[in-house]
């Protein structure tokens, strides 16, 4: 059997309820349950934390930095920008 440092699991950390989960790094773990424990010891031993998510790194699908077209926008979509419209008028007292 070949030696292994186990799979990598990406770790997402929520500081308090109401906050989004933020990516903080990865742990090597043999399975998802142990990944949660390892994530707690590595990423929450000092930081306040109410929730952790772990995802095996191979399940992350990502965009390619080198394909700029994925995020490119040419057609004017300023109608999506709040600054493109005036604010409501108010009745004078």
């Amino acid at each position: 059997m070949s030696d292994t440092q186990w799979d990598a699991y990406e770790v997402f950390h929520q500081k308090k309820k109401g906050d989004p989960h933020i990516h903080v790094g990865a742990v090597h773990a043999p399975d998802p349950q142990m990944a949660l424990q390892m994530a707690r010891d590595q990423f929450a031993r000092r930081l306040q934390c109410v929730s952790l998510w772990v995802v095996n790194s191979r399940h992350i699908t990502e965009t390619d930095y080198q394909d700029e077209r994925f995020f490119a926008q040419w057609i004017d979509k300023s109608y999506r920008d709040p600054k493109a419209f005036g604010a409501p008028e108010k009745e004078e007292p």
């Binding site: 059997m1 030696d3 292994t4 440092q5 186990w6 990598a8 790094g25 990865a26 742990v27 090597h28 043999p30 399975d31 142990m34 590595q42 031993r45 000092r46 990502e62 390619d64 930095y65 080198q66 394909d67």
Partner: protein, 314 residues
């Protein structure tokens, strides 16, 4: 699309991005030398953390008092944590943790030379936390600005934790400096032995280092080795003297004009010898790391095998 640009065009674009202070992320195009240099640097940094656990970890069983014992376990735990973060940063460049560890244990990878020195007394623990970690933080604060995203992010977290280590180390030595004559002598002796090894931590003067010029251009590092060394001495020399202890360098004094501390260069030939494996503890520490790795093999394999079985059935 990128595939249509020439190598020169891609390199020029990369270099101007980096010069503007932009970050490089794992999926970005990068010159092969940049990738290789970073893997080497980050790997060495990671190896330093885990080899560095040993000189201090050795004193956990002997730590005097609850507070010191708890603090030391926490510190050495942090070092494992830093190693973990750094190996991960290097993994984003395409090299597995297995490979990096195998290289280290085969004696094919380097790590910070400062961890090849022995820790014969309790005072060494405090002095390492104070002097070694101060030098490390000066270097690492600079590295927090590095162009490679994952390394910069790891460095920020590490610097935050190292700042506690410095305080813990300083506190342990200050107590000795103000203690019994025996405790005081222990502290001074440790400082005498660690002064030059910590001066060497920021690397040889840049005229001697082949890697430095390229690293500066690509903002892998943002200051020269000598700049970092000067910063360290300016910080630590007055702290040592404030405790009534002395710096083991008769030439160490403030230059009235520049306001910087003048110091004697360490013996760079000694560095070469020690880095190439001839130091007092190289063999012993790598030997321990190898043994630990071997002893733990059955655990790693067992837990991996069990998970594979579960996934096969699912």
């Amino acid at each position: 699309m990128n595939a249509e640009k020439t190598y020169e065009e891609k390199l020029a674009e990369f270099e101007s991005r980096v010069a503007r202070g932009e970050k490089v992320e794992p999926g970005d195009w990068m010159p092969e030398d940049y990738r290789k240099t970073l893997i080497r640097m980050i790997g060495q940094h990671a190896h330093s953390e885990i080899v560095g656990q040993l000189p201090e970890g050795k004193w956990i069983p002997f730590a005097p008092g609850f507070r010191r014992k708890l603090t030391l376990i926490a510190k050495v735990q942090d070092e494992a944590g830093h190693g973990q973060l750094l190996y991960r940063a290097a993994e984003t460049l395409g090299k597995s943790r297995e490979e990096m560890l195998e290289e280290l244990l085969a004696g094919k990878a380097k790590y910070a030379n400062v961890f090849n020195y022995p820790t014969p007394t309790w005072a060494d623990v405090g002095v390492i936390g104070w002097l070694v970690d101060t030098a490390a933080v000066v270097n690492q604060t600079m590295l927090s600005q590095t162009s490679y995203g994952p390394y910069a992010r790891a460095m920020k977290r590490i610097c935050y934790e190292e700042s506690f280590h410095i305080k813990q180390g300083y506190d342990a030595v200050a107590v000795l400096a103000k203690g019994t004559p025996e405790q005081r002598a222990m502290a001074q002796d440790a400082i005498n032995r660690w002064w030059y090894p910590t001066l060497m931590m920021s690397g040889p003067p840049d005229t001697l280092s082949t890697h430095s010029q390229q690293s500066l251009k690509w903002r892998i590092k943002t200051k020269t080795n000598e700049q970092v060394r000067q910063e360290y001495v300016d910080l630590i020399a007055p702290q040592i003297r404030a405790l009534g202890l002395s710096v083991p360098d008769n030439d160490c004094h403030v230059d009235e004009k520049t306001k910087h501390w003048h110091y004697t260069q360490p013996d760079w030939d000694e560095l070469k010898r020690v880095v190439n494996g001839d130091g007092p503890c190289n063999k012993e520490r790598l030997g321990v790391r190898k043994q630990v790795h071997e002893d733990g093999r059955w655990v790693r394999e067992a837990l991996a095998a069990r998970q594979r079985r579960k996934e096969a059935v699912a």
